[in-house]
């Protein structure tokens, strides 16, 4: 222990002798690491898998079940109600849920000012497929239309001031709904079930409504909807169920490769039938996209974050090069002292130990600097790209990664100079 203090003291003296180059080295390394880390946080969070156990079992089937002919088109990213009905006829998936999102206004009673809410309009399997935790109450027993909704915990607290509110009634856009369940804290990030149009960046919805009720009450999708032919999108309850109004996302759970294969075959057969019925004028373009691939499939990856990731990596490299350069110069100017120590009998392992302590000290300063810079940079990125702000949070794992990276970079920066200082020709160094 006493030896460690001695090493620390020597390091400190060496820093004090030439504080500017040392500060610059630490500053540059902190800058490189801080900027890299802040962007890496976004990159890591956006590309993380929110459902590692299931992300290869949940699939989004897409087909060219549209009234127009197109030979090189991708299947549309949203399905019509009748498409879903056809796909739902298969009992191969162990769970299935059609869904879309809409906007609404929620209040306790007509006299209260309305609170804007986002609504996920979906089916009962949604909750089990995406591991949505329930705090109070139950979910719908089936997929029928019913004036019953589920609330997120935050919405329950915001509107009613508490979470145990099952059985109470709320006004959603002038209609009375009964609360049958309240979700526990839940934030699927990225929100992969809603990947199109970069919706995966947004928080999970505030309330949940049965799909059939959404159609009955004419809730239009706030994300992406396409209407073909003579369909009137304002008549969801009628045209929406029978005509080509595409606005539904559809997820199926296929647990085994056999199920997946069977489902692909089912989709192929469906195309054949539809073609025979004259409802599928285009060539087959079936897609069965895995949950973990969905963002890439929709081309919604954050190009800016990716581009900035490339650049920040470059910056980190430059910083490491620069810090090595500075540190090398520092060591070269301290070389005489080093050689003197060796001449006085310090062996190489003692010198290496000293260098290790130097490195530890540098890592500590750099880590502190990097954390501050990363914090600032994250704030800046949040203000420039507010859409990504949900992905800015740090956790222990990320902080540990930063610490390890800092240690590694400090090691790189001090490696060559220390080798040169402790293995160079003693005679030459002293003479110089």
């Amino acid at each position: 222990m006493e030896q460690l203090f001695y090493y620390l003291k020597v390091s400190w003296f060496s820093i004090k002798r030439a504080p500017l180059p040392y500060m610059l080295t630490v500053l540059i390394l902190s800058l490189g690491l801080g900027v890299f880390f802040s962007n890496a946080t976004f990159y890591y969070r956006m590309n993380s898998d929110p459902l590692p156990d299931k992300s290869d079992k949940l699939f989004f089937p897409m087909m060219m079940l549209v009234p127009y002919q197109c030979s090189d088109c991708k299947a549309p990213p949203v399905l019509s109600y009748s498409n879903v009905a056809k796909l739902a006829a298969s009992d191969i998936p162990s769970a299935r849920a059609a869904m879309y999102s809409a906007d609404g206004y929620l209040r306790q009673h007509a006299a209260q000012p309305p609170t804007p809410v986002t609504v996920r309009i979906t089916q009962r399997d949604f909750f089990s497929m995406f591991d949505v935790p329930l705090l109070h109450g139950t979910i719908w027993p089936d997929n029928q239309a019913r004036d019953e909704l589920l609330l997120s915990k935050a919405t329950a607290e915001k509107i009613l001031g508490r979470t145990d509110v099952v059985g109470q009634q709320l006004l959603l856009d002038d209609r009375l709904f009964t609360i049958i369940g309240v979700l526990d804290d839940w934030q699927m990030l990225p929100k992969l079930y809603d990947a199109y149009n970069r919706q995966y960046l947004n928080p999970a919805e505030d309330i949940y409504l049965p799909l059939e009720s959404g159609y009955d009450y004419n809730y239009l999708s706030n994300n992406n909807s396409s209407t073909y032919d003579d369909a009137d999108y304002r008549k969801l309850a009628t045209d929406g169920r029978t005509k080509a109004i595409h606005q539904l996302q559809y997820w199926v759970q296929l647990d085994t490769p056999a199920q997946q294969q069977a489902y692909r075959q089912f989709m192929a057969n469906l195309v054949t039938d539809e073609k025979a019925a004259g409802r599928h004028p285009s060539p087959e373009a079936n897609q069965l996209v895995m949950l973990r691939d969905i963002v890439r499939y929709f081309g919604g990856e954050s190009a800016d974050i990716k581009a900035f990731a490339i650049v920040t990596l470059l910056f980190l490299l430059v910083s490491v090069f620069n810090a090595s350069h500075l540190s090398l110069n520092r060591y070269l100017s301290n070389q005489y002292e080093f050689s003197l120590r060796r001449a006085l009998g310090a062996n190489r392992s003692q010198l290496q130990m000293q260098l290790l302590v130097d490195m530890g000290l540098m890592s500590t300063f750099t880590l502190a600097g990097a954390a501050v810079i990363a914090y600032g940079c994250t704030k800046l990125m949040n203000s420039l790209w507010p859409a990504n702000r949900l992905f800015a949070s740090w956790d222990v794992q990320l902080m540990l990664a930063l610490a390890v990276l800092t240690l590694f970079c400090s090691y790189l920066v001090t490696l060559y100079p220390s080798l040169r200082a402790s293995f160079g020709s003693l005679n030459k160094q002293l003479k110089e």
Binding site: L314, F315, W385
Partner: protein, 397 residues
């Protein structure tokens, strides 16, 4: 100093020089691509929109009750809102629209000549449902035909006439006169000048406008108003209260000038360009520190050599120039390697974002910036070098 001796001088500091060269090359590459991206963003923001950006305000709003979101209550609400806004001092003209211009995406569809659908089809054309003053607000006088004066229902018995922009007319009707012809959405009543519609569309200047009542506004709607010069801010401040007084059952999402709207349309690019510029500035700073420390330590280590040179007749300015030229050489070498790096980075970036390819003059500009920075950074150490006393240095050691 002759080039081969300069090279020799660099060669004897192989590791240090290599480190410096690598970072100079990378800095050059980043700087170049940042300039490129910043330039592109600037061009995007400066491209003509055909719209009075500064004086036009857009209010995006939505009724909070189901009834108010649907005809006929909606029609009544719109009339009252427009009337109220017209009385606000500084307002020149006001109109409603299902959506504003300068959006990323929105309500759009295809527009074509029914007689030659395949050849004339324009996809993703923004479809506006507006009140008659829309053209007055956005200062879009007819280039041909007459602007509709009455709101005619889009899905009524007689189809509501369509006003299209010049470039859409040229596309659909193959540069022939469009007024009086039919598109799939109705008869063409007039052609107006191009303006920026939606970014997600293939051609941003394609727009189709129908003067018609709004039937439902589940996605909200826009009120567009043009103000007198200098009164935009005042009007903007007055608007929320005016609208609340008309009917409090509304949610106002935002009130922006079209200039702000345009800025937001490219906010991602703006963000990336800003971050890259910041990073470039940091990298330049880092390179300057490198050049500085390189020259400084070089001077310290080579005091004797500098002294000898002084004794042999090198003047102070010569020593100064020699030190600068050594760093210039490093910079030019690094920057030349940087051109290669810049090309690679450009290619890599082009795979994730849209970035123009390198032009010939940009590397020259970047060279200049880099040389300038390196010169500034080397100035002080080079001045120190000139102060080395030849008498002491040649005696030392």
């Amino acid at each position: 100093m002759p080039l081969h001796l300069l090279f020799k001088s660099l060669q004897r500091r192989k590791v240090v020089t290599t480190l410096l060269l690598v970072q100079l090359a990378m800095t050059f590459a980043l700087l170049l691509n940042s300039i490129l991206l910043a330039q592109q963003t600037r061009q995007q923001l400066q491209q003509p929109t055909g719209l009075p950006l500064q004086q036009t305000l857009q209010v995006q709003l939505k009724p909070t009750t189901v009834a108010l979101r649907q005809y006929p209550a909606l029609g009544d609400l719109l009339t009252r809102q427009l009337e109220a806004i017209r009385t606000v001092p500084g307002v020149v003209a006001v109109a409603y629209s299902n959506q504003g211009p300068l959006l990323y995406g929105g309500n759009n569809g295809n527009v074509h000549d029914p007689d030659r659908e395949e050849l004339s089809k324009a996809n993703g054309v923004p479809l506006y449902t507006v009140s008659a003053d829309f053209f007055n607000v956005l200062q879009l006088p007819p280039l041909a035909g007459e602007l509709p004066q009455n709101e005619i229902a889009v899905d009524g018995l007689a189809k509501s006439p369509v006003v299209i922009t010049q470039s859409l007319a040229n596309k659909v009707f193959d540069d022939k006169p469009a007024v009086g012809r039919q598109v799939n959405r109705g008869p063409v009543a007039a052609v107006v000048a191009d303006f920026y519609g939606q970014r997600s569309a293939g051609t941003v200047n394609y727009n189709a406008i129908q003067v018609a009542p709004l039937y439902g506004v589940d996605w909200g709607y826009s009120i567009l108003l043009r103000t007198e010069h200098g009164s935009t801010d005042k009007v903007r401040q007055a608007l929320p209260q005016v609208l609340q007084q008309v009917d409090s059952n509304i949610e106002i999402f935002y009130i922006r000038t079209l200039a702000e709207q345009q800025q937001r349309l490219y906010s991602n690019e703006f963000g990336l360009a800003s971050l890259l510029s910041l990073l470039s500035a940091l990298m330049l700073l880092v390179s300057m520190i490198s050049s500085y420390s390189n020259a400084y330590f070089h001077t310290l280590k080579h005091q004797q050599e500098i002294g000898i040179k002084r004794a042999l007749g090198a003047s102070k300015s010569r020593i100064f120039t020699e030190l600068l030229s050594e760093n210039w050489l490093t910079t030019v070498l690094g920057a030349t390697a940087g051109v290669g790096c810049a090309l690679v980075l450009n290619q890599v970036l082009a795979q994730v974002i849209s970035i123009p390819s390198l032009s010939w003059w940009l590397p020259l500009l970047t060279y200049t910036v880099l040389l300038l920075c390196v010169t500034v950074a080397t100035w002080y150490p080079a001045t120190i070098a000139t102060r080395i006393s030849p008498a002491t240095a040649t005696k030392a050691l």
